[in-house]
Symmetry: C2
Subunit: 153 residues, 2 copies
Amino acid sequence: MDGIDRALLAALQADATQAYADLGKAVGLSAGSAHERVRKLRERGVIRRTAVDVDPAAVDRGVLAFVMLQANVWMGDPPTRDALAAIPEIQEAHIIAGSASLLVKIRASTPEHLQGVLRRVFDVEGVTGTQTIVVLETFFERPLDISDPDAAG
Amino acid sequence: MDGIDRALLAALQADATQAYADLGKAVGLSAGSAHERVRKLRERGVIRRTAVDVDPAAVDRGVLAFVMLQANVWMGDPPTRDALAAIPEIQEAHIIAGSASLLVKIRASTPEHLQGVLRRVFDVEGVTGTQTIVVLETFFERPLDISDPDAAG
DNA sequence: TCTGAAAAAGCTGAGTT
DNA sequence: AACTCAGCTTTTTCAGA
């Protein structure tokens, strides 16, 4: 994981459709070498997958909310995970430190739809309370910063 | 935006590297037709980009936190947006309803690094307080659910 | 709007430095 | 580890239905 690998990852986060010849040119490598490095990054799991980024509003998921869940039992186990994963509108679920137990990110079509999702979340075993944060506007959602935190700059 | 488009989007979210011939087979279309539909989805902005998904831990961004920002002025304007965008560790920034003003998602390498980022966030014009939620474990982060909310099921 | 096929482009492996 | 080259697959275009 040197500077070239980081540059490749940054370029592929911006546009994974570009040709290896161009990718190589951007980092000072031949197409073959760029290809070999990317292959290894995939093999090592640094690159998990290649996917399209879909505009949520275009598929009727324009309502975004974060919900903090309070619980009366430990919720860090598979049954809780599976119960949350079974709700398709939940895009992320995290165990958190602090006064709540879990934080989930939800995308719904309308406030009414969101309400229905919240009801299902509330019915998950162990949940004793929810605090919902509705997003009014998203400033930005962008790829992970790839720069080396140890490097100067 | 019919069922076939939704199926294409779901398939491309799972794996955008597959050939159009396979993609077409999966949705009952020829390679040419699948290609044409995907081209239009890109053109219309439904597909915003194609990108690799990088494992944060592999690039030394294993610490995840959500931070709610209190403010004494309206923070929904470009200067605030730009000030937050200038902090590379901030992956998402949202204007929210409720007692805080903004919610940001931060990825750092260590708790010390996170602390440094929080200091920079606190220095953003208008910020009067922060509440930090540290993630202990991520259950899942997955693509947007593409199913039609109006459809039965 | 889809199909099928031809032309163009890019991927990917083998051999070499 | 990276480069070059060549065969092969895939993309992308286009005429026809």
